[in-house]
Chain length 320, copies 4
Amino acid sequence: MQEIPKDAIKCLDKGFVRLVDSMGGDDAIVQSARVSYGKGTSKVSQDRGLIRYLMRHRHSTPFEMVEFKFHCKMPIFVARQWVRHRTANINEYSLRYSEARDEFYIPKSDQIEFQSAMNKQGRYGQVPDDLKNKVIDYFNEISDRSFEIYSELNEAGVARELARAILPVNLYTEWYWKNDLHNLLHFIGLRSDSHAQYEIRVFSDAMASHVKKVAPHAWEAYQDYAVKGLIFSKIEQNILSKRLSNSSIDDLLEDIAYSITASLHNNKPRNENELFKLYSDNGGLDNLNDFQIKWNIANFELGNVRELREFKSKLLRLKK
Amino acid sequence: MQEIPKDAIKCLDKGFVRLVDSMGGDDAIVQSARVSYGKGTSKVSQDRGLIRYLMRHRHSTPFEMVEFKFHCKMPIFVARQWVRHRTANINEYSLRYSEARDEFYIPKSDQIEFQSAMNKQGRYGQVPDDLKNKVIDYFNEISDRSFEIYSELNEAGVARELARAILPVNLYTEWYWKNDLHNLLHFIGLRSDSHAQYEIRVFSDAMASHVKKVAPHAWEAYQDYAVKGLIFSKIEQNILSKRLSNSSIDDLLEDIAYSITASLHNNKPRNENELFKLYSDNGGLDNLNDFQIKWNIANFELGNVRELREFKSKLLRLKK
Amino acid sequence: MQEIPKDAIKCLDKGFVRLVDSMGGDDAIVQSARVSYGKGTSKVSQDRGLIRYLMRHRHSTPFEMVEFKFHCKMPIFVARQWVRHRTANINEYSLRYSEARDEFYIPKSDQIEFQSAMNKQGRYGQVPDDLKNKVIDYFNEISDRSFEIYSELNEAGVARELARAILPVNLYTEWYWKNDLHNLLHFIGLRSDSHAQYEIRVFSDAMASHVKKVAPHAWEAYQDYAVKGLIFSKIEQNILSKRLSNSSIDDLLEDIAYSITASLHNNKPRNENELFKLYSDNGGLDNLNDFQIKWNIANFELGNVRELREFKSKLLRLKK
Amino acid sequence: MQEIPKDAIKCLDKGFVRLVDSMGGDDAIVQSARVSYGKGTSKVSQDRGLIRYLMRHRHSTPFEMVEFKFHCKMPIFVARQWVRHRTANINEYSLRYSEARDEFYIPKSDQIEFQSAMNKQGRYGQVPDDLKNKVIDYFNEISDRSFEIYSELNEAGVARELARAILPVNLYTEWYWKNDLHNLLHFIGLRSDSHAQYEIRVFSDAMASHVKKVAPHAWEAYQDYAVKGLIFSKIEQNILSKRLSNSSIDDLLEDIAYSITASLHNNKPRNENELFKLYSDNGGLDNLNDFQIKWNIANFELGNVRELREFKSKLLRLKK
């Protein structure tokens, strides 16, 4: 068995992910976005805000300006899922040109589960130990026997491109895989998801750990807006809007008016007289008296003013 | 001025969109999806459900199996935005090879607005009539004068590829443009949006009217899930979940338990005894007594059971 | 075993290629090219000339305007080569979602050959009969045994996505595959080549037979210019030009001058006086006397004038 | 007028090309190719040979592993040609978001030429001085007047996205442009060609100078095989083969047999007895006597044995 390169993250029993090279990071996203949207100052804090804005509004081209190249080794059935992401550049180990190596994926005991009844594509629930052992035995049997035959045919001089056709899809292959950050995040979003097959998730997670280091703001924004975003369809909005009382939405809107005011005040302090006007201009409905009471007791959440305003407009869409 | 082809939709003052050819429609989406996910019956009602499922879960490849080819004529500044969608195949009228034609876009009076202060990319609010007239006069002045010069240089034998460099971006150009449905919907999603520039929206809307006819279920699903979907970011969910009382979410969840029961019963009628069990199994918390009362008086919304269950799991994520 | 659809071309022992749909043909290429290069008349003979011109000068975008959709069934190891062509749209049968079927590729006796020593990727020379039989036995053994295990694990309820990992790459899979003509021709150019693996060549040839019917001029042009074109590198040109006597190149050039003259005359007859001038203008070096003698006896090859002129300029590059 | 960045190459009167970042070079091509084709030693001389082999046989994927990012500023009509290369990632300066700058391309006197009669897309032959001056005056007139109007409308508060529509296509724009080496070479192959418009060739040449430094072997191979390669179509081969005497081809083939022998001997010296056999095995037809005479007097060209053999097989295709 080949050794795993020192700078690689081990994946499954014999595979790995290794970051070979990368070009740019958070700074490159900001740099190219600023060509489109004009210059402006560039404090680090503003970089983060700009990256989050771009992600939120699905301006994907600046994320395409960052590039990653990985060296990966994985079973063929994993490679087959992986390769569906067609934007990447790939150079794979060729079994027409080179001999296969005796390296097969054998699942670990705790990954052997029953077919899920709910999710036709998934697994669910540990199988009994004797069935687990049987699975592992069978994987070993087919791996050993097919490689034995392959080796015999190979030694007899049979064409490699033909002999390899009896090898099972748990055979390891390897490749160089290069992709830009936008498409890499999309890959990770799908393949690190809980619905993805365990065996590809491991590789996706390994690549994710590199992305997190190379472009931390982009990574965080992708998590907040794409991965953990909650999408309500038009139909669900109809139900929500029918059942959520207007008054509970109004409560939320009131909170947001206070949060916007507090956030603006926090960015650039105003004197007391200006505050109530600011609050009213941002949709606050309390009168001056109530405003002053709440302002003095409450502990309003601060946030990004732009995001709070966008939130407000979403909530308004839910009102009857 | 060139006449607009009879089968074309007129766009702006001199442009058009014409559907030249298309391949497949809703049926082609279903057909290719069924290769991936197995056969099954194919009543038309099920086709719609499958298309909606694919859209909701962003399985985009079946939508790529439908292809559209348009013949379009639009001002250069519109073509410049359009061409950023790089998945399409394009053949454009060449000003190196052929002579420019005297066709320029002159905005109509009601499209001349002020620069928006809020949206750095948009326009907002009608300008006074005298300014409108000035704008139109200026468009005419530059169009006329630049074409006059172009024609003179052309007649003097100056290379066309050079002479064309003085023509303004309101000059009309035309092209054949071919794209698959997945990417076409993405285009329309961005360019028929209220934030898109008016002059490209007109063309996007014209293409949309063709898509609606060729693939009506796909179009409807795209509207419901992508265009009109409401996305709450992780941060917004935190605020929602902090401010929305658990009890109002519980009310929604109760409604959904009833809706699921009613929908299942509607699909395949059960006898009375089975109904309460079905309701409980689907998360209903009322006791038998309350259940029977509500069941008899209420008018529950019917829906797709799968969608209702997905909605339930989203709401659970909002509970404290 | 599944039956092969009636409108499909059988490939290998259990696979097939079926043209599901197509959009456009030679006419669509011409139509979109004419948007770019201006209108002009469109006799069928001119269509062919335009298509050949586009192919010769690698103007590929008009060929992208034609689209093909195939339904194909092939062994996994063939699918793995196929999928490297990333421009296509694909929907493949999913072994996570659906059960595998007991269909494996077993090579026919006359396809079992030795590994080529010269070409590290190919096969060369029939192996003895007993080795052939052994290969076939081994293919059957692994196919049968792996499917037996797969079925047992499947019945025991083990997750399909895991159980499938012991199946060999000679298992048949199927997909819908859609591509435009430009990229399809590139695929066929590589995969119908004698260096391609036999098992994918069969599928490529089947698709080629459809292309030939749908777009015959484009197919012919691709054969003449891309597939059967002979490329001499800069280095080879140096050798050619060192060893080919100038006089033998001059002989060729003379022939071409006569062919151009004859072709022009054939397109639009001239009177005798004009012919010699035409010949001289096109690089002919004979004097009037010699010209008249040759003209009257020789039988000059007619051709496309543009192509003959391009040929002349290539030959001139070889002269010392 | 904006200053040109210090590390940029000036292009035309106000534009530039600046290499912002790159990932990999010749070494990265070799590294990823070796994953596909097996390891082997890696002397620098072998790297060059491998890169040339890959280029010659159009194995393009290893070249896709190298990435370039440029910052460029060019007139809009140049950007319009450039953007047809759809594989690149682009972030362009937005005239919806930001104000236009008063920077227009004014052609230099010696670039003002007549329309070519032969090449409908080109220019040919200097125009008289007074016409040159007129062209320059006209470019200045339209540039100045359109910017004057644009500025006035802008100050009056008219929406930028509308006001910009009167600006001519000689206005400068800028962008970040990222592409992989394979597609970048294709771009340069087309746009540094003598048939490309002068104004884009300048930018292509500037990028080429960077490619040459970052990946010199890949650059050289592209020149030798793609740019300077001479392609003879099937029809031209027929003519060649009809007119080139077999004997002159045989002379070439003989030379090649000697060159192969000498090259093999040069790589690994053989004793005298072996040389004649080597020569005969490689297609030499002289008898031993003649061989020894020629071997001792001649000065055979050494070359890459693989390339010489490929050349031989091409020549054989030309024999009657």
